[in-house]
Symmetry: C2
């Protein structure tokens, strides 16, 4: 599958390498590929970089792994014509660190970042996923506890959710909870205020919830 | 221990009976004990009812199990003089159903109901606990899955947290995560928007999260 990952941060890099490892044709979008490829942390990453304006032109799946407060602008540079009809996996969280730690959410409760993205790019098929865990856990669920924890996929389009569920399974996720309706992203994003506090209390980001029922 | 439970709803009733069962001296506060005791659902409950104005006078622990939007008013009727120096377990959630289901939160993110209560009754020792699960699970954690799920206790006062942790253990909770600082209640209350959606998706309120680390 042709996957374009938007973001050159740790989440984008981690996901891009993981999707490449399981056999996908992955490109990473960045404003300036030459600048990015010169960065220390991009040495040896081995995933091709492309300018945002063209990175998603051939993609079947686009992954938004940008900082939540920069997502709408970054996806605007990707271009609505390159997002139309595509599965858009929204991994971002609208964390606002302007008042320090712990962060607040810049959108919440009666709206979500995922829904803002869906409204801005109505022809994309937005699915919220993976935003509930840290980058290393996203691509290695077996690394937490006994390996049996829960991940979510929320979106309006059932086929798009299925594509994302398939990708999650390739990353090693077994307990995938599908939520019908992108409004469920409000709940998934509002997990973050508890997540950041648990990270502080536990002294690690390498944890997750198991939904026990 | 002398425990006053504020609320005659299902959460109050369930907690009052459970605390009585494990040997505590429990009273339930209500505006009109005669009216409450005449209700169908109070037949056979077997926990003494007292008017709000006197219910907490002799209590060591006060449990706020009211509707979150009525908590400040109800606790005002209990009286700050009867809350001073007491452990005040806040089980309530500030759910706003005015726009239908799923509810939003009437306070969140940069504040919480627990902190509002603490500010209104500065001499009480507020501990947020049990708000993350449904009433039946609060008093019977073994009923969910393999019985090994997680409950939280957040507050500023370490001794008050310890009292609450002790009560939680008596109810059967093994995995109790203590969070130092009542601001952590923001995270615990913001779990609810995900909780209500999971309840919808799972078709039951009898679930909980296990914090896997």
């Amino acid at each position: 599958m042709r996957i374009a990952v938007i973001s050159t941060g740790v989440v984008g890099r981690t996901l891009a390498q993981a999707f490449q490892r399981v056999g996908h044709d992955v490109v990473v979008g960045t404003r300036d590929p030459d600048e990015t490829s010169g960065r220390e942390e991009w040495r040896g990453v081995g995933v091709p970089l492309q300018p945002l304006a063209t990175v998603a032109a051939q993609a079947e799946v686009v992954v938004n792994a940008t900082n939540g407060n920069a997502s709408l602008a970054a996806l605007g540079e990707v271009g609505s014509e390159h997002l139309a009809g595509k599965v858009l996996v929204d991994v971002a969280n609208p964390l606002d660190f302007s008042q320090g730690f712990p962060p607040t959410l810049s959108v919440k409760d009666s709206d979500s970042l995922a829904e803002q993205i869906q409204r801005a790019f109505p022809e994309a098929k937005v699915v919220k996923a993976l935003n509930t865990v840290t980058a290393s856990v996203m691509v290695d669920p077996g690394s937490v506890g006994d390996g049996d924890t829960t991940i979510f996929a929320a979106g309006d389009d059932a086929e798009a959710r299925q594509v994302v569920v398939g990708l999650l399974r390739e990353l090693g996720w077994v307990d995938v909870v599908e939520l019908d309706g992108l409004h469920n992203a409000r709940g998934l994003e509002m997990w973050l205020p508890l997540w950041v506090r648990l990270m502080g209390a536990l002294g690690t980001a390498e944890f997750n919830l198991k939904l026990v029922r």
